[in-house]
Amino acid sequence: MLQSIATKAFRFRPVTAFKTSTKCVVLPGNTEVGSLVGRKSYSYYKSRVEETPDKYTGYETSFQEWKYVEKLIPPTHVPEPPQDPSTELPSGWRLPNPPKDCPYNVRRTKNHMIPAYLKIEDRGQVRYTYIRRVEGNIWQLEKDIGQWLQDNYPLKNIITRTNEISRCVIIKGDLVEDVREWLIAQGF
């Protein structure tokens, strides 16, 4: 609607539109394109967007159905997950309950998920598993998880390394699902 009125105003702009006076220039009404009375044609952005009310169709206002619109509003915050650590959920998600005497900790993300990711490098030829958000003794975590993976995959050469600046433990290969399973089993 706004665009169509804009083109109309541009097309039928008279010579008086170029006057620099601050007075409101009243254009002659054009019966073909609709009434443009009251439009400041020399300043498009200050001009009225709406036309006269007889150009619009009628409507009725209703407040009854607003409750259905409220269901469509997305949450502004990440929803709180279930707070009972004993409940076993079908998806395998569990509330973090880290052991007390563990020298390291892996914190959940803001979405309450395990921070284990797959990173694909060299055009898909090399795959790394990243464990982020590690706190405490990062080398102990590297040793523990490397040992567990080596026991699970005896024929595989498990290569691990750490980046203590970015607090990452990096394992060569796509082992994200195993790492996630181990971290959840440990209580992180």
Partner: protein, 293 residues
């Protein structure tokens, strides 16, 4: 026979004259063009111009097309990706991810789940600009799916339908055209623009069979046939079909959208005023006729 007039004499003469045939036709009045000979009879230019390949009879080989690769040398074309940019895309949403969304309170099981609810999690979305026509509910994580939901997706396979109905839920497969999907994926942005809720169009010709098939739980299928197919599928996969009629969540599980409807309980043509928290309904006859058809 008595000859009475000159015309009778002329006709009698005609009867005695020989018939016209190739042998008694006169020669043409003009002489024939001299024939250009070959070899010893002359015509050293070989019926061609005085230059070039035609005089020397070095004609191009058979099948030669100037400016074109010959058809027998051309690489055969296989249009494997032909019109791939026009095909409908359905980004996947696995049953495992759906269960995780429900477990972490991203999705409310007490409300019907549709494309708007999934997009409002802000973890999954569809891009109509890339010709995404909605979600494809895939079978990944089918063994751990335990939720009882009323879900509406845009593409589905048979084991997924069985997994949802085994838990006592219901599933509908509905089609959204791209214009209404823009409204469905982010309704707040749509309402903020002051645009009326659009009406859903019926599926295109090549998709209407899928969305009217009761085996796919299509939204245009006959509900009685869908009920029959639910029983057939439960017997095929060997589970006991839950009775929706006796379920306490009966109203939730049987809640369906109109084929023209995008949002539950909101009709096409309405304009949502977010500032005054009200809804503007059109009264014009032409608008009502357009949105109700």
């Amino acid at each position: 026979m008595s000859m009475k007039s000159g015309s009778d004499w002329a006709l009698a003469l005609l009867r005695t004259l020989p018939r016209v045939n190739l042998g008694n036709l006169p020669r043409e009045p003009y002489p024939k063009a001299p024939k250009r000979g070959h070899g010893q009879h002359g015509g050293k230019l070989h019926r061609g111009p005085q230059k070039g390949s035609f005089q020397r009879m070095s004609y191009p080989r058979l099948g030669w097309e100037p400016d074109n690769m010959p058809w027998y040398v051309r690489v055969p074309m296989e249009n494997y990706y032909k019109n791939h940019h026009l095909k409908r895309q359905y980004p996947p949403l696995s049953l495992g991810n759906l269960q995780l969304l429900i477990d972490t309170n991203r999705l409310n099981v007490d409300e019907p789940i549709d494309v708007t609810a999934i997009c409002n999690t802000k973890l999954f979305t569809v891009k109509p600009s890339e010709r995404h026509y909605g979600f494809h509910l895939t079978a990944d994580g089918i063994d751990t799916f335990k939720a009882k939901v009323n879900i509406e997706v845009q593409w589905v396979s048979e084991p997924v339908i069985a997994a949802v109905e085994k838990n006592g839920g219901t599933i509908t497969v509905g089609y959204y055209d791209l214009h209404s999907l823009w409204a469905a994926r982010n309704p707040m942005e749509w309402f903020r623009g002051g645009k009326p809720i659009p009406k859903r169009w019926i599926p295109p010709e090549d998709a209407i069979e899928f969305y009217t098939d009761p085996k796919n739980r299509g939204y245009l299928a006959d509900p009685e046939k869908i009920a029959a197919e639910r029983l057939v599928l439960s017997q095929k996969y060997g589970y006991e079909l839950a009775k929706i009629e006796d379920d306490p969540k009966r109203d939730l599980l049987l809640k369906r959208k109109d084929p023209r409807q995008i949002f539950y309980d909101l009709e096409p043509g309405w304009v949502v005023n977010l500032r005054d928290k009200c809804i503007l309904k059109p009264k014009d006859e032409a608008l009502l006729q357009y949105y109700n058809n």
